[in-house]
Symmetry: C2
Subunit: 240 residues, 2 copies
């Protein structure tokens, strides 16, 4: 088996993809399922998000919920919600572009620190030849927070399958763990993290760095275009 | 000033680019100038390389010089040549694609371990706002050897300009130095390195990891298309 890491999405992979957007989409969507959500749809369009049928619409631009949105996509805020069987729409600028790149892979799961151990277990259950950890990055550039989480996941995968072959990306990402033994340090230094801190979302960084808080692993089950905008549907595998 | 690192080429940058292809093009071309070459033209086409006017044509496919080529692009072999004022054609599969991506930047220099300190000095002389270290990668994927060299260069740049701001890519690359204090270890683990070792070019890895062997810094001065193939002309800055 191969363990691959891409520090930016480059296209579909042949088998299982673990897509990582630590601050905040893969963290927050795992936590939405942890709080009980039945389904999460992801789209970049605020206008479309308002029109989709849903119990809860989470929106942000630069971390702030725009007018008419109930709540932001902050993981710290999501942890305070109770969402039994709710259908959620989640807007994000970053995640849809990454999902678009990898959506044709046989299996696409979202992974972060908060669901890392469960995501690794699920990926290994599904994988035939390869698990590819794909970092979403930040505004088209490598993101330190995603790269570190990718390294954390790659190392866990390689520990679980000692015969697996890492590619160079996996070696690069795994090496980061030596420099950042505490994920919070990387989150604070990262461009995404500094943006969030500057907007008062300090608690998000703490929550996003908690390892294994949930067993829920969001899985991509449908893609459609609605009025030219991509809409991705995710459900969660794993125990509620 | 900003210090940016891209672990794969994404397009032109606004100021100075240090393009890194440690195994082997940026290493070997710096050493061609060290051995006295006046000009190096780079093209992916073996057929075109044979037809260009030159004193020496270096070709390889998977490390081996094809029929009719005088020598391979091995840095260990180049160190044995004497090339006073020679005009060299250098074929490579990897470097032309990377050059194509960054060629419209105001300044494009080739950097590796062998000319790293000189490349950093030259980049800082030229830079107005930014030095971007761009790793060529290997067959479209992140390369461990290039990522480590990018980290080495980024760290030197940041040490020389303590007020400069690193981006996340620079933080990722610089963090690699903690995991690989000896560059040779990374070169041996890298996909490019293993390919070269499997073909008997073990000495290339040792030569490519020697830091600061030359002050020559190859600089891109012209680009043309000849029968649909890109041809890049490089000359060297710095003392002979």
């Amino acid at each position: 088996m191969r363990v691959a890491v891409e520090l930016l999405p480059r296209g579909p992979r042949p088998d299982v993809v673990l897509l990582v957007d630590v601050l905040r989409a893969s963290t927050s969507i795992a936590l939405l399922f942890e709080r009980g959500a039945r389904e999460v749809r992801v789209t970049p369009s605020l206008r479309l998000a308002r029109e989709l049928d849903a119990d809860l619409v989470l929106g942000e631009r630069e971390g702030i919920p725009p007018e008419g949105f109930f709540a932001s996509t902050s993981p710290a805020e999501i942890l305070g919600l109770s969402l039994p069987e709710k259908r959620v729409v989640y807007t994000s600028e970053n995640l849809p572009a990454a999902l678009l790149a990898v959506k044709d892979a046989p299996h696409v799961l979202l992974a972060a620190f908060v669901n890392g151990p469960a995501a690794v277990r699920r990926a290994l259950e599904l994988a035939r030849d390869e698990v590819a950890v794909v970092a979403a990055g930040h505004r088209g550039a490598e993101a330190l927070d995603d790269a570190l989480a990718a390294g954390f996941l790659a190392k866990k995968l390689l520990r679980a399958r000692p015969d697996a072959e890492p590619d160079d990306g996996a070696r690069v990402a795994a090496a980061l763990l030596k420099a950042y033994p505490d994920p919070q340090e990387a989150l604070w230094q990262s461009a995404s993290g500094r943006l969030l801190v500057s907007r008062g979302f300090t608690e998000d960084l703490a929550q996003a760095s908690v390892i294994g808080r949930t067993d829920r692993v969001p899985r991509l089950v449908a893609f459609e275009e609605v009025r030219g905008q991509p809409v991705f549907t995710l459900i969660a595998d794993g125990p509620a």
